[in-house]
Amino acid sequence: MKQTLVVIGNGMVGQNFLAGLAASSAKENYDIVTFCEEPRAAYDRVHLSEFFTGKTAADLSLVEDGFFTANGITIHLGDRAATIDRELKTVTSAKGITVSYDKLVLATGSYPFVPPVPGHDRPQCLVYRTIEDLEAMQAAAKTGKIGTVVGGGLLGLEAAKALRDLGLQTHIVEFAPRLMAVQVDEAGGVMLRRKIEALGVTVHTGKNTSLITDGETCVNKMCFADGEELETDVVLFSAGIRPRDDIARGCGLEVGQRGGIVIDNQCKTSDPAIYAIGECALWNGMIYGLVAPGYAMARTVVADLNGEAASFNGADMSTKLKLMGVDVASIGDAHAKTQGAMVYTYQNGASEVYKRLVVSQDKKQLLGAVLVGDASGYGTLLQYCLNGIELPENPDALILPHRSDESVGLGPDALPAAAQICSCYDVSKGVVCAAVEAGCTTVNALKAETKAGTGCGGCVPLLKSVLNSELAKQGYEVNTDLCEHFPYTRQDLYNLIRVEEIKTFAELLEKHGKGRGCEVCKPTVGSILASHWNEYILKTEHLGLQDTNDTFLANMQKDGTYSVVPRITGGEIRPDMLIALGQVGKKYNLYTKITGGQRVDLFGARVDQLPAIWKELIDAGFESGHAYGKSLRTVKSCVGSTWCRYGVDDSVGLAIALENRYKGLRSPHKIKFAVSGCTRECAEAQGKDVGVIATENGWNLYVCGNGGMKPRHADLFATGLDKATLIKYIDRFLSFYVRTADRLQRTSVWMENMEGGLDYLKSVVIDDKLGLCGQLEQQMQYVIDTYQCEWKTTIEDDSKLKRFRHFINSDQPDDNVVFVEERGQIRPAVAGDERKHFTLVEVA
């Protein structure tokens, strides 16, 4: 007969336990019941702040669809387990449900600690733990201007990011003399503070809040013990966590002096029928406030229920985080508390990098490390630390900057099979290698197979290098040929064209390819030639290479007609220009729509009408918008400081300057920009390939964002820039993208496939690691200097206009193009429409 197993709490650890149990054979022995106090099942609290950057509660969910039903688990959502009767072995919920148990697992988690400051329960004094808390923050941010986080630890910085994402002027108040006092030493704390402040967040350390009361300019005022005051609308407490052990206390289980349900190495409480796991559990006097140790406890209990020997022996507390775009990592004994420990530090004030190594007295073992500003060495250092790998002769080489090609990283081959690659899911190198052997050839396949890299994601670069090394050992070779005509990648072809100064497709094909080419290689080469030499794309030798839209400098629609999009830089347009645009639309009876990129799209133009339409547009002062090209599309902007009450800088002016600078640049795929005049981000710059946001300290540059089918939030690339530096970085960034991306690869995917990712890109563009920046800037300047409006060139050349007719031997239009009217405008007729010809304006 089956026994009943009850799990109290469906947070990250509770759910991880259920998933582990469901996948094990012990599942057959139990009817499983779980109580979840929140209205929704487990979600990812580690990435909670992404809720403010577009993720929904559903995106954050950790529960696969149908999980509970498929595994026969009964879940009581929105019902808190209130009491346990250990005599009768029952659990009773707040709603009055009583369930008998044979085994009980407590995964009640923790609650945010709110210091008992008078006024802590005033309006808009909030905590940061659940999705409901986030919704309360969102509501408070709507009316407020200033937000303050109490607590400068890990969670506090996360919370500060959330406030900043909500558009609030953000402060952090910390009792200790530095930020992240637990993980980071004093010098690291100083660097961290500088970086956080550069992002426009004000940091107050060594501050003891004594009272929260009515504010004069804001909802609240915080009074500090030193007599200073701070006006703030929102107060967000993030001063640590406390284990939720009330239900355990209520039934007489042993708890620690300062809270926490006491457990042994099998995660059993003082009652052998009851386990406790995660942040509610106290092991060896420690509460673990990270998710990985909680998962380790969950695994221990699953193993115990399966009758396997298992033991929780403490957990590594190393962490790597990106806090507001600042990389911070802490490994092992960061504070050098071990007897005889020696310390190496590296500090680079200019690029705001701080690194510290703590090694054993004999300098052979790594005990701990602190990384601020550049955490790229985290994976290697963690492996040294966890696996006791002997350090190189000069351990400082591990934190000193090194030039390209020279690598001091620990290659994946140096790791033992037992080395833990993913600490969230405890996946060893051996398991990863076995999965590669069994046929996983991509990081995504490995993630699906082993779960490695699906927790915090910190191990993905290491996972990738193990994958590549294993694939290489198997003699696996990926075919990266562009197509059957060229045994090269796009990047190879770019280099051939550049180095051998090849100017036509025919020359490239003769030297390096075979056959006639196809619709893959022709446009790719056409694009590279245009990126590099920037000649007129309809030149006879280039014409046959161009993609559908480029050949007629307009966008083909489903019925073979075209749409026309003139450039409206930054979305700024004078009324007389708008009228001129309207007149063209009216004269040629074009369907007219406003685009997402702040311009106007005119649809339904026949190929023979395009030159006349463009003649009128150019006469009115318009130029090509390159909407047809894989090239810069728009630079969207908000109205900025010129008009907006909240504007910090002139976003429209910058947007126009950027659009004029990069217009016409042919690239592997289309490129979109946006510029926002303040952190309210009305231009949605963080969803663009290049996004710029004004702050009090200068321009912040974001790169590789994307909307569309697979949205990607842009990465913060550099902060507090002046205009000249900003433009220099964008020049280099775009040139590097044009040189190295695959065909039709947007910057977002380019970045995600780039070895070393954002850090590598920064090292190339900002630190000039490859020594390429001069060339990249020069190339961009060449393209800018040779810009031409393709439509102007075309209408001035009669020989080019010959192609702009439907028939080479007749002036008749295509009789298959038929429009009907809808909402006062034309649209293509579809089957079932009464096919009624419109009277179309004839053009000479």
Partner: protein, 111 residues
Amino acid sequence: MAWIDVCGSDDLQPDSGVCALVAGQQVALFYLPEEGTVYAIHNYDPFGNANVLSRGLIGDINGQPVVASPLYKQHFNLETGVCLEDETVQIPVYKVQIDGARVKVNSEASS
């Protein structure tokens, strides 16, 4: 067999296409100057239901000369009119003569 004078050979676009009206039919003409070849197929894309094939990119796939539809990128063999992605679909092809400086197309589809 009716040979119809369509246009001058300098009206053709090297390595690209144009559309001609031939006895009321739309015919796409593709000119490959290196081989001195002109291919003629019907201009109608049966997948996109639009007269656009003359505006497609030409090339070769496994040695067959093809045009890729500018709408949804299906390939059509320029010699037979057969679609490479779906061999049950075939579009008409026409014979072409270059007669001095003139291009002539046979108005009867040859397949």
